[in-house]
């Protein structure tokens, strides 16, 4: 066996080379790392977050968790309003949400799925604090001790929290409220809602549960607890109070929470509202994606949106169709120019190239403003047409605020992106091929169509994909010259972000558009190669 070849320092050459290679790789990665991190943080994560937002739907279960849990046992197929416990859960959730001012956000979220819910939630948020008042009155009439916040603290707070509260010197925030373990086992419902009450009082109002009388729904919860668990025991000091209250309970007037909600708004007795809440209660939903393609989620499964609300498929289709039209016009206009550029002597070609590159370098807003000015009803183009007598003065062409305007302006804006790749492909086609074809007897047309054109197809492919990718994501130009009939899906995304605030739907539409673009880009990579992207010729 041969001895292993050694490097100068005595280590085997193989290991030494490996180490050098590893070091080289490390150095390359270290140079790339800062930028990679930067792009990850400023670009990739935001896009990822947007994709997540298109399925995320935690707002329902976060805002009304008790209601969502109670709805689990509801038979949603029966087309009935849920049973009373669901309404009691809703009263509690709504009370907390109203105090935190979160109910309106949930209302707007559900309003995307069923109009009218937003005002229903707003209205209910205002009046929900009355629910359970019947119990509050009866408890306090029975014994004024129930009116004293200290009673409640004694009954429900953890001894450690009371001790911490005593030790607290009044500066900074009060120690966060803790519920006692005994209360959780003896009065589960009360402990649950009281803990939230104390949290809201401390965080929202900067107040202390020791000084605030609980909400009406807390009394309701205690009533339920005492009825459900007659043997519940309280701390020794309150045993007497609990006993007298318990014995008085059977004579209490009972509030029908369902009726109270009906009193606030009849819609609460509509099964449709509840079905919407139930359908959108999971933390993740495909609802936004379904909406983005004109479908909707109902308790009975997936259905088409009502005919007059189906807009997105049409919009996607129109975006595709207009982008194709723009791409095709670009091929039509770009091909002769590229051919001319490729076949002129380089000095002349460079001069003409400037005419192509100047628009490429000119601000998009400048070109869009130019078209807005030119295409107007009283603009230069219409003036010229009238002057030449092609159209009558009172019958000027509508060139703007419609699809025509978008197509003209965008063809102009994207034309350089077609000419440049076409030109770079055509430059590589030797002119002698055409001459050879002609010398073999081909007519001009045959020589072009059978010999030249097939060789320029890669250029057409590259330019078309580039123009198409750029076109379907355009926002500015359609927004300004497109009116209502010439807008793209991007304009709808922008509308949902800034006007309707339906961010989930905007994210879903964006995700679909992104998928289309990435698929096209993958095709571009296969045809042209990612490394062959060139700028400015």
């Amino acid at each position: 066996m041969a001895e292993p070849v050694l490097a100068a320092d005595g280590t085997p050459l193989k290991a030494s080379l490996k180490r050098a290679l590893r070091r080289q790789k490390m150095r390359a990665l270290l140079l790339i790392a800062p930028l990679l991190l930067f792009i990850m943080l400023t670009f990739i994560i935001p896009i990822g977050q947007m994709l997540f937002r298109s399925i995320e739907n935690q707002i329902v279960s976060d805002t009304i968790p008790r209601t969502v849990a109670a709805l689990d046992s509801w038979d949603h197929d029966a087309d009935e309003v849920p049973p009373a416990p669901v309404f009691e859960a809703l009263a509690k959730d709504m009370m907390i949400a109203a105090e935190l001012k979160e109910h309106t956000r949930l209302g707007s979220r559900l309003n995307y799925e069923m109009s009218g819910i937003s005002s229903l939630f707003r209205k209910s948020g205002r009046r929900v604090d009355d629910i359970g008042e019947v119990y509050t009155d009866q408890f306090t009439d029975l014994d004024p001790a129930w009116e004293d916040p200290a009673t409640w603290v004694q009954l429900l707070a953890a001894p450690s929290w009371i001790a911490a509260g005593d030790a607290w010197d009044g500066s900074g925030a009060e120690p966060a409220f803790e519920i006692s373990n005994d209360a959780t086992t003896q009065f589960p419902e009360t402990a649950d809602i009281y803990a939230d009450f104390a949290r809201v009082i401390q965080t929202e109002d900067n107040d202390s549960p020791t000084e605030e009388e609980p909400w009406n729904v807390v009394y309701l919860a205690l009533y339920n607890d005492l009825m459900a668990n007659p043997g519940a025991t309280a701390p020794a000091e309150l045993a007497g109070l609990i006993d007298t209250t318990r014995s008085a309970l059977p004579g209490f007037e009972v509030e029908d929470v369902k009726a109270s909600f009906e009193d606030i708004d009849d819609d609460w007795i509509s099964a449709d509202v509840w079905e919407t809440i139930y359908t959108y209660s999971p933390a993740y939903t495909n609802g936004y994606f379904l909406n983005a393609i004109d479908l909707q989620k109902t308790p009975d499964g997936i259905e088409w949106q009502p005919e007059n609300e189906q807009i997105y498929l049409t919009l996607f289709w129109r975006t595709m169709l207009m982008s194709l039209t723009i791409t095709f016009s670009c091929i039509l206009l770009g091909y002769p120019v590229a051919w001319m550029l490729a076949n002129l002597p380089s000095r002349k070609a460079n001069l003409l190239m400037i005419l192509v590159l100047l628009p490429f370098w000119t601000s998009l807003l400048v070109r869009t403003s130019a078209w807005k000015v030119l295409l107007q009803n009283q603009g230069v183009i219409n003036d010229l047409l009238v002057w030449f007598g092609f159209v009558a003065d009172d019958n000027r062409l509508a060139l703007i605020n419609n699809a025509t305007g978008t197509i003209i302006a965008m063809t102009h804006i994207l034309l350089p992106f077609m000419i440049l790749p076409l030109y770079s492909v055509m430059q590589t086609i030797p002119p002698s091929y055409l001459r050879a074809a002609k010398s073999l007897g081909a007519t001009n047309w045959t020589a072009f169509w059978r010999v030249y054109f097939p060789q320029s197809v890669p250029g057409i492919g590259a330019g078309s994909i580039l123009v198409f990718i750029l076109a379907i994501g355009y926002y500015i130009t359609p927004e300004i010259v497109g009116g209502t009939k010439g807008v793209f899906i991007s304009n709808r995304i922008a509308y949902h972000i800034s006007s309707s605030l339906n961010w989930g739907l905007a994210a879903a539409l964006g995700a679909i558009l992104l998928a289309i673009v990435l698929a096209l880009y993958w095709a571009y990579d296969r045809i042209v190669g990612i490394d062959n992207v060139k700028l400015g010729g």
């Binding site: 230069v380 102009h412 490394d531």
Partner: protein
Amino acid sequence: MSLPIYATTGQKIWYYTFRVIVGLILFFLIAPIIIIIPLSFNAENFFTFTPKMLALDPEGYSLKHYRDFFTNPDWIRPLKNSLIIAPFATILSVSLGTLAAIGLSQSHVPFRRGIMAILISPMIVPLIISATGMFFFYSQMGLWMEETFGISKSLSGYIKVILAHAALGIPFVIITVTATLVGFDQSLTRAAANMGATPTVTFFRVQMPLILPGVISGGLFAFITSFDEVVVVLFVGAAAQKTLPWQMFTGLREQISPTILAVATVLVGISILLLTTVELLRRRSERLRGMSPS
């Protein structure tokens, strides 16, 4: 493709028709940009040529729209913002982008394709989608910056827009600099190292001067990307960060004022300047490359 002397009449007709067609297309490309220049000197608040202008009457022309541009705070403020945001974004993307491009052009880079795809992605993803993603993320980031570092809302607004624009400019820097590095002779750095230069000295004295044209034109691309960008700034920025394109966009969408044509003319002038610079740099780079065997 000059016309041979034996060309038939049909060929002659086609030859000239074709030239006319190409001329018309080039006219279509350039005319909208050229036509706004005389229109911007209109003495009236119209968007078309007045009879006085057509008669070349000096009274038909005036500089009033330019005066408005340079005195009206509605335009001065955005101009300043653009001139603050674009240079910072450019510096950020050029410095990070050049380093990464040098790393990428080494011979052994693991996951090269994947890394390249990620770095180029801001150019591929449609702006509206980048803007949507950034809208959600950057608003949280702004709040976080204000709380953690105690900076003002306006400063955090500028930082957000600069970061966003830097991300959008990076692909252009990467592409132009890697293209320049393809022709870079790696043995030059080895020779420098051989003669005792440290890596830093090699970078600044040997490599940098040679790839400088690529770096500068990448920087110009990044600058124009930021200077011209409106969708992302519209979503990420607040009114305090309103840039020139944003103001133009609002003007075009709501109430179009003829000042916009003066602004556009100034911007066309800037584009011509940039185009010339890039073109000169490209020629210089080709000359330099011709000198070093690749």
